[in-house]
Each structure stands twice: as C-alpha cells, then as structure tokens.
Amino acid sequence: MMQDRAGHRRDATLSVPIVILVGIAVVMLNSTDAVAQTRSITDNSITWPTWEKFWRALTLRDHTTRVVVIGTTLLGMAAGVIGTFAYLRKRAMLGDALSHATLPGIALAFLIIGEKQLGWLTVGAAVTGVVGVLAVMGLRRIPRVKEDAAIGIVLSVFFGVGMVLLSLIQELNTGKEAGLGSFIYGKAAAMLTSDAQTIGVLAGVVVLCCVLLFKEFRLVCFDQAYASAQGWPVALIDLLMMSLVVLTTVVGLQAVGLILVVALLIVPAAAARFWTDALLPMTLVAAAFGAISGWFGSTVSAFVSRMPTGAVIVLSAGVLFLISMIASPHRGVLATILRRWQLARRIADQHLLRAMAEFEESRGLATTVDESELWSMRSWTASGFSQVLARAARTGWIARNKHSVQLTETGRASARRVLTNHRLWELYLIRYADIAPSHVDRDADEIEHVLSEELVTELRQALKEKADVPPSPHNLGAGI
C-alpha cells in the first residue's frame, strides 16, 4: 500500500511540470498573434457613466469589457487559490520580492528582442522572478541575514536593476518602448482577447495543479518536518508551489502591475483565513474573494472613468478583507469584542453572587444585605453596580427590596457553586503552588470564572474535599 501511495505521489508531482509547460506553450502561441496589434487605450473617456454604459458594463455587452472582466476574474480566482498556500507557508511577502524581480527580466527581454512581444517579455519576467526567489533563499542561508532583510534586499536591488535598464531603454529611444512602464502599475484596460485567453488557461493550470497537489501542499504548509520525515520530497513540492506563484505573478503583472500583484496573492487569502480553520473551505473562500475582487474591480473601472483597474481590484479585495476582519463569526473583531463583553458581564454577575454567598455564610440563610454594604465588597462603579443588580434581579437570582437585596432559591444555588469554585481553587493554590493564604484570594479571583465542571470535580478529588462549600482558608475581613 505504501508503494501504491508513493507511485501516486510521483505521478502527481510529475504531472505538474508538464501542465506548466503546456501553459507556457499556450502563452507563447497566443502572444504571436498579439504582436501585430498596438496596445494603447487612452483613458480620457466620459467622466461619469450613463445608465446605459453602466448596464452594458454589467452585462458584459462590450467586447473589450467582457475580455477584461473575464480575464481579471479568472486571475483573481487563481491568485486566491495559490495565494492561500503561499500565505499559510508564510511566503506572502516573498511574492513581493518576486514581483519586483520581474522588472529586470522584462527590460532585458525587450533589450534582446528589440520590441514588445508579450510572450517573450513574460518569459523574461518569469526567469528573473525565479532568480529573485532563489536569491532570497540563498541570502537566508547566510548567517545574520534574516528573511525580511533578504526579501527587502532582493526587492530593491532587482527593481533597481530593472529601473536602470528601463532608463537605458528610454535613452536609446528606439520608439518601440512605449508602455513598458505599464508593467509597474498595470493596464488591464489594454487587455486583448488573446490575453484573456492566456490568463484563462494559466488560471486553469494553477487551479488544476493545486487540485492535483492539494494533499502535498497541505502537508508542506502545516507540518514540513513531518512531511520530510515521511519521505515526501519537500524541496520539490516547495519549488512547485513557488513556480505556481511565479506563474500567477507574471500573468498578473499586466493586469494589476508588479507593485500590486502581491496583494492578489495575500489579501484574499488573509481575508479567507478569518472565516474558516480548514484548508479546503479557506481555499474556496479565497478563490471566491479573488474572483469577486477581479470582477468588481474591472467592472467598476470599465464604467467609471479614471479608475485604474488594478488599484480598484485591490481596493475591492481590501474591502472584503476589512469586512472579514470585522464581521467574521469566530475570529472577527466584533465577535471578539462581544465575547469579551459577555465574559465581563459573567464575571460581574459571579462577583455579586459570591459576595452574597459569603454574607449568607456568616449571617445565615436568606439574610438581607444592605446595598451599600454589598457595594463596599468590591470596587464597583456606581453604574456598574446598579446594572449588575438589575441584571441579577431580572435573572431571578436576587430579590430586591428598597435598599437591600436577598438571594432567591435559584440564586443561592448558583452563588454557592461560584463560592465553591473560588474556595477550591484557593485551597489548591495553597496546597500545590505554595502560595501564602493571604495571597490566594486575588489569584483565585481571576481563575474561578473559567473553571469548567470537570475541573471542579478533579479539584475536589485532588483536595479530598468533602464539604459542599469548603470553608475559607483566610480571614474574610471585617465586613462579614
């Protein structure tokens, strides 16, 4: 069976380079017919869209719009998928170094060929992009060069080389260099049908590879040490993952530009992380977020003038990120705040109950306690105190008279439970953690609210405590 699995593994790993090669071949083929056409769309259209234009953009009537929208949507999806793995592998910022490192490749390819052939420029970009990634890996092996510094070095120096070459090209003034700069900021509006096809094919390649290698990628992302101990070719899997990132980046250059392409990799994945803890749903959500951003961004920039497509795509992804971070049910900021608030309320309630239980302990059952007496037990604020009293009365824990309170039957049960937890923990601290009896009260105060039923049972057993409510190990103070 092991053999069987190993065989399958080899097949799957082998299939990826083949798929990538096919993809590149398609790019090359497509690029040949793209050469002849000039790609310049000047963006001085109408300032505000008419309703008709809006409708046409939304329903993909215009050929150009359709091409751009489909292309960027597919791109966003592919970037979301591979970005998920890059994000989990903590390689997110490596994408930034990679995308900046493509610039010298683009410029070199142009210098060598002498004209703007998208296919060759893309190949050049991919080559120096890979060199950049390898440079980061190489730099990291040098003692004292940390990951972030390695990324920053490659990013700035490679980009510097690219700028040097671009300025050289400009000075040489062959007249064919116009638009090379669009790789920096992207120019999705200038996308041709063939480009959209190319993006479509490559997006398919990336998604297909991720599906084929899902298990391998997951293993490497979550437990690299285990994967290599099990005999998986971790370095090879890593390399394949990075090749897919390179592929996505290079394809994305034209649409969103090399500065922002890293956002397509990071932002949807980071947003998806808020919604789920499992890999498959996270990948799907990231793909959806990427696709939505791509679609929305290109649609908006199609009917609102002076909206750079790449930037709007990234902003859409940013909005999705913001929504995720704020509103996601488990990890979101709102959910966290809500949980904290609920905990704070529960703690306040339990403080009240324990104070009441301690009064009953010293004065006998069903004693009435003056509100001012109760208030002096803890450092309650006036409004906090009245809120907690009102809440306890609503829940039916206490009965309120004019200025005094009394525990009800249900309240007494809860109060005694809280007091038991507190006392058990105090005893535990004294016996096992060697804390002086005079100091345990405060420590127990923090932990008593989060003791589970099982833990309380265990504490009782460990302490061999039989009393329903154990007596206090320290002086309760003058008030009682």
């Binding site: 994000y87 903590k90 997110a92 910022m93 994408g95 930034d96 730099l139 040098i142 003692p143 004292r144 060069v145 940390k146 972030d148 510094a149 990324i151 920053g152 070095i153 990013l155 700035s156 120096v157 980009f159 510097g160 080389v161 690219g162 700028m163 040097v164 070459l165 671009l166 300025s167 050289l168 000075e171 040489l172 700069g181 920096i184 900021y185 500065i259 922002l260 890293v262 956002a263 990071i266 932002v267 980071a270 992380r273 808020f274 002076r306 909206m307 750079p308 790449g310 930037a311 709007v312 795509i313 990234v314 902003l315 992804a317 940013g318 990120f321 971070m325 990890r331 900021v333 966290t336």
Partner: protein
C-alpha cells in the same frame, strides 16, 4: 558625458546625504527584523500625498510632507492592529496594509490627475538630476538643504536615544523590564522612518530609499558584532553606493558601448547590492569564501590528527613503522589528505623514510598521546555518565577528540580520576604538559 563638479558634485552630495540618512535608521529596522517596514511605508504614503493635495489644492511641500508622514505612521499602526487583533502574520499584515493603501493612492491620484501633474512615477524614480539643475542656476539647491535637515534630525534622534534604541533592537522585553517603553520607541522609530522616507522621495525616489534602509545595514552587520561599528560601516557603505552609483550611471553605459546615461538613483541601489554581494562573498567571518576557508582548514586539521592517532595506535600494537600506502587506506588519497600529511612532516611530527615508510617522531608522539589521551578520556567519561555500550563509545569520541581543549581535558581528568585505561582496556596516555 562630461563630469561637471558644479552639477555632479551636488548630485553626489544629495545622494550621499539621503543614502546615509536612510542607512542610519535602517540599522535599527534590520536589527528589529522590520526591514520591510521601509518598503511598506514608502509604498503606502501615496494616498497621504494625494489626500494632502486634494485638501490643500497645491503641490506645496509642507502639507504633502505632513500627509505622507501621517499615512506612513498609520501604516505601522494598522499593521500592528491587524497582526494583533486579526492574528495575521506580521509580514502578511504589512502586505495587506501597504498594498491596499497604495491602491487607494493610485485611485486618488488618478482622480486628481486632471488638475495637476502628480505622477505616481515620481514617487518611484525621484528626480535626483533636478538637484543639478538647481545648482546650474547658481543657487544652493533646496533639496540639499532639506536632506541636510533630515540627516541632522536622524543623527540627533539616534544620538539622543542610542541606548534605548540599542536595547529595544536586541531585546524589547528587557527594555520593558528596565522601564524603557519599547512600544513608544517602536513608534518613534517608525516616525523617523516615515520622515526619512518621505523627505527622500522627491530627491531620490522610493526605490533608493528602500534599498538604502536595508542593504547597507545588512552589509555592515556581516562585518561586525558591535552596533556602533555597524552604524559607521553602514554609513560608509551607503556613501560609497551613492558616489559610485552616480559615476557608474554616468559612464557605465559608455563602457558597455551604449551612448547613454542611466537612472542615477536606481544605479545607486544596484551598487549597494553589489557591495553587499562582495561582502557576502568576502566577509572574513560570515562570507562564503571565509566560511569555505575555515571549513577547509578544519577538515585538513582533522585528517592530520586522524593520521597521527592512527600511527600512534599502530605503534601501540607493535608496528611503529607503517607504509604510506597503508595510511592512505585510512585517510584517503585526496588532495586534502596529501596536504595534511605534508604539513605533519613539515612540522616534524611524522618522519618519512626514502621508501615512504612512516613513523612518529618524538614530538609527534607527544602530540599523538595528547590526542589519543583525549579520545580515551572522553570514552571513559561517556562510559561513566551515559548508558552506552562499549562498542558505541568510539564514534562519538572519534568526533570529539579534535575539539577537546586543555581546559576541557583537565575537567575530564578530574571527573574520571581513576581512569588509567579506557573502557576497552587500552591505557590512557598521561597528560603531557602544554609547555612545549
């Protein structure tokens, strides 16, 4: 291309000033593993520039500067918020923040583009040559004045808070326990980075800023362990990058046969990279060549010591003279092995007869006794303290014997005082005095 001191001198001065001011704060970024913060801030300030412009309706330097610095610090703040509250990894959080802000900046600038020539490109390239143009008109270039101010501010900052910055760079927790607010220092550093970045934009462009924040500091860190020296070296590296950067930008294409000049700022970044590469290769302690040399020396020493030990054991077994070919079956016939053997003969530890028969000299015997003694002491020590079988003792001792210093040997001796023979029953040679 002609070198004009009245123009190129100013350009180089501007380059040196901005490179040095970046490198100065860059040291602390690199040490705190925040290198990419410079990258993030320099991209993220774009919306600050745009909003300042949209509000003030002018390209006046003041509002633009303030807007950019505010957004720059906001970048650091938002990154921290997302890292903490979203539990997103720091690098990724930074990527999210800066790319979204940059995208926002691009959109805003495109909205304003009708009214003004506010080219996002100017942020990338900068226009260092404009310094020269200013000078050409016979005035003291304003950019240089600004850069001097920034440099002075950075020097003042680092000078005043040197102790705090140092302790925060190496151990923020220790800093907190000593009453230095690490978080305040973090933001102070971020403000300085933002100020430096923004002030240098116009002069040299963001790509040079990012390079100068990181590259010279890393270069310096490869050369020294002391922070003060590191800062000094990074300043030297930065200044060298600026000077040679401009020279190469002016004349480099000519050397390659192009009739052109290239972008000075970008070339400065490239030269900084070249300096780093040279350091990576040549640094005595951490460099690639240095480490390879150390490894070579060490491995040669180990081979020589293995040869000595083997000769000693053979003479112990009653065969004091051994043929060279026999030794070669143990240490091999590689270049390194032959070199090691030659060193042994040169140092007079091994005597080789005309017929290539080898034996230990008296001096060699003392050396070998020390070595084999260390080996057998280590075996005794292992046998005493670890539950290892006797046949498992040799390998670790064989590896360890090369690294047992006289002090360690004394400690071992004290630990197993009664050992006169090793666990295999072989005698442990008595400790030779180290005064030969």
């Amino acid at each position: 291309m002609q070198w004009e001191w009245s123009i190129d001198g100013w350009i180089v001065l501007a380059g040196v000033l901005s490179a040095c001011s970046c490198a100065l704060v860059g040291n602390f970024l690199v040490l705190r593993k925040l290198s990419l913060m410079g990258d993030a801030i320099s991209h993220a300030v774009l919306p600050g520039l745009a909003i300042a412009f949209l509000i003030s309706h002018s390209r006046a330097a003041g509002p633009m500067f303030i807007g950019a610095v505010i957004v720059g610090v906001l970048t650091a703040f938002l990154t921290q918020v997302i890292t903490r509250h979203g539990k997103v990894e720091h690098g990724a959080a930074m990527g999210v923040v800066f790319s979204i802000l940059f995208a926002l900046g691009l959109v805003l600038i495109r909205q304003a583009a009708d009214h003004v020539d506010l080219d996002p490109g100017c942020v990338l390239y900068g226009d260092i040559l404009a310094v020269g143009l200013d000078a050409f008109e016979g005035t003291f270039p304003k950019t240089v004045v600004n850069l001097i101010l920034v440099m002075a501010a950075n020097l003042l900052f680092v000078g005043l808070f040197y102790k705090e910055l140092r302790i925060c760079a190496f151990d923020p927790d220790l800093a907190t326990s000593r009453g230095i607010p690490a978080n305040v220092m973090h933001y102070a550093l971020m403000i300085m980075v933002a100020v430096t970045t923004v002030a240098n934009f116009e002069a040299v462009g963001s790509i040079l800023v990012i390079a100068m924040l990181i590259v010279p500091a890393v270069t310096a860190h490869l050369l020294t362990d002391r922070l003060g020296v590191m800062i000094l070296l990074s300043l030297i590296a930065a200044a060298m990058s600026a000077i040679f950067g401009h020279i190469v930008a002016m004349f480099g294409p000519g050397w390659l046969g192009f009739d052109a000049t290239v972008n000075t700022s970008a070339m400065m970044a490239v030269i900084a990279g070249v300096l780093l590469l040279l350091t990576v290769l040549l640094s005595p302690e951490h460099g690639v060549f240095g480490r390879a040399y150390h490894r070579l020396v060490l491995s040669t020493r180990i081979i020589a010591q293995d040869a000595l030990g083997w000769l000693y054991r053979r003479s112990e077994a009653g065969q004091p003279v051994v043929a060279l070919t026999e030794l070669e079956t143990v240490i091999g016939r590689t270049l390194r092995a032959r070199f090691a053997l030659r060193r042994l003969r040169q140092r007079g530890l091994v005597y080789a007869s005309a017929g290539n028969d080898l034996r230990l000299t008296d001096k060699g015997r003392i050396e070998a006794e020390r070595l084999v003694g260390s080996h057998r002491l280590w075996e005794s020590y292992l046998a005493e303290h670890f539950a290892l079988d006797t046949d498992h003792l040799h390998e670790p001792a064989h590896r360890m014997e090369h690294f047992i210093t006289p002090e360690l040997r004394e400690d071992l001796q004290a630990d197993v005082p009664d050992a006169t023979t090793d666990p295999h029953g072989k005698p442990i040679p008595s400790t030779p005095r180290d005064d030969d």
